[in-house]
């Protein structure tokens, strides 16, 4: 069964309470504020985090790049703020500018606590203290599994990718996983060449059979819109599209036979407040 809008997790976050006062129709449109597809992904990810933080699910395991930008944007837009945790050992980081790397000194200097790398994975991630993990990769399959290891075969790879990093245990353990990736036929595949991070595996019940404690990939934010897993089949379904994107575009840019939610709707336009906060963050 395709998700009804009522079941869809995005219903929770498409209208975060704290930005309800901003008119939903206010879209940022000045030329200085051209909204890129990166901006769209960042803002929508920040909204999810804002809603999760409001629900008390605030501890967010962040990687550098779009996730870090989104998490720091959420810190500026929402109250309560999400708690940012970086695998370099920083807990409760409140950087005043965007960190350039996961080991940026700014992260350590602005953290509540800095711990060793072994500890961040044992006492914090493995212990189940992380509510939200961000992941991305070279390939995402229809069951939300991610490949960041190799394109082609493992022994004779066409492309050797960086590898697992913290991803396998984030995917297994975080309360839920938010995937941020550009939606292309090459990246959104029927089956990953290599399963680096486990999503829903081969489908319903697979996570449970393996005893994984985290909730898995609950939302995939792309440059075209949002996908969410059908709660019955675990297959990722397009549930939301950015303004101007068509269902055909989504289908064309997906390597599996993508289903479109019957109640699909358009993501709320990026507001001035959001884009201004983002620009401020990026220029800090």
């Amino acid at each position: 069964m395709i998700l009804s809008a009522g079941q869809s997790a995005f219903r929770l976050w498409c209208k975060p309470m704290v930005i309800a006062s901003t008119s939903a129709s206010t879209s940022a449109s000045t030329s200085a504020n051209q909204i890129s597809t990166d901006d769209l992904m960042i803002v929508n990810a920040a909204r999810v985090l804002g809603t999760l933080a409001a629900a008390g699910k605030a501890a967010c395991f962040v990687g550098i790049g779009l996730p870090s930008t989104a998490a720091n944007l959420a810190r500026r837009l929402y109250s309560p703020e999400p708690v940012l945790i970086y695998e370099s050992g920083c807990i409760g980081s409140k950087p005043t500018r965007l960190p350039l790397s996961i080991g940026d000194g700014e992260l350590a200097d602005t953290s509540d606590s800095v711990v060793s790398v072994p500890e961040i994975f044992s006492y914090w991630l493995q212990a189940g203290r992380i509510d939200v993990g961000f992941l991305g990769g070279a390939q995402l399959d229809k069951f939300g599994n991610i490949n960041s290891t190799v394109i082609g075969s493992y022994d004779k790879p066409k492309t050797r990718l960086p590898g697992a990093g913290g991803a396998p245990e984030i995917a297994a353990t975080a309360g839920q996983v938010i995937v941020i990736m550009r939606q292309t036929k090459r990246a959104f595949v029927d089956r990953c060449d290599f399963r680096t991070s486990f999503g829903f595996g081969d489908g319903p019940g697979h996570r449970e059979r393996l005893g994984l404690r985290g909730g898995g990939p609950k939302i995939v934010i792309t440059d075209l819109g949002v996908l969410e897993p059908d709660p019955e089949t675990c297959e990722l379904v397009q549930t939301q599209m950015h303004l101007g994107v068509t269902a055909e575009q989504c289908i064309e840019n997906t390597g599996w036979k993508l289903r479109i939610d019957e109640n699909i709707f358009t993501t709320e336009a990026v507001t001035d407040r959001e884009i201004n906060a983002l620009r401020e963050l990026q220029s800090a």
Partner: protein, 284 residues
Amino acid sequence: MAEILSLKEAIARYVKDGSTIAMEGFTHLIPHAAGHEIIRQSRRNLHAIRMTPDMVYDQLIGAGCVSKLTFSWGGNPGVGSLHRFRDAVENNWPHQIEIEEHSHAGMAARYVAGASGLPFGVLRGYVGTDLVDQTSSIKTISCPFTDEELTAVPAINPDVSIIHAQRADREGNVQLWGLLGVQREAVLAAKASIVTVEEIVDKLTPVSGGVVIPSWVVSAVCLVSNGAHPSYASGYSERDNSFYKSWDDIAKDRESFVEWVKNHILGTTDFDSFSRSVGISALV
């Protein structure tokens, strides 16, 4: 007790052809100078271990020093691929290298086991991923109390671990602060250890967030100011992000890489002379 040695002498004494070495540093405090000295001394058949092999491991691999790499994430953070690493894995250039691939959580557990005198570490990890099929160093283990199945990974006990730290005193006690990564575990897990430092002082004064590694668990301390460059030492230098970016172009091409190594590493006598050669200042 640690001896205070020149880096040249320390590498000559402790890093042999065929050694298993770990040069740790999680973005912060990466021992680049020591890596260069290994290339300068033309060490071969090293088993190189590191959670996050980045530029300095790319250099070691491209220079032909490494026959096996054990790692969890191999990339140029914020920039992209490690081209020499990829060329070795994809095309066996300059020769074939064996890889043993883990996740960060698994590597951290392996170092902790090594530092603790245990033959293996236990974690919730790797479950459902294809990583388990690619190495014999990931096994399952049952909890003797709950019968739950968990994952076991073997301890890492390098012949030599090499780290960079902010400072040492004249007795060889080492002090580091900021992001601590897995460096203390790497040193404590190793049979011998070399620490390059920014400064050698008469007396170590306490630093918030700092740790001291006592002299009697360190083999050699080497004064190499700015020896982490283009990584950084909190309180002494900042990360040289442009150098990381420029590495992409240098390493992309075999010829430019070989030329770079010839001119700047093999053609220099130590890290100061390297720094002059590439035009970086030891002072920030």
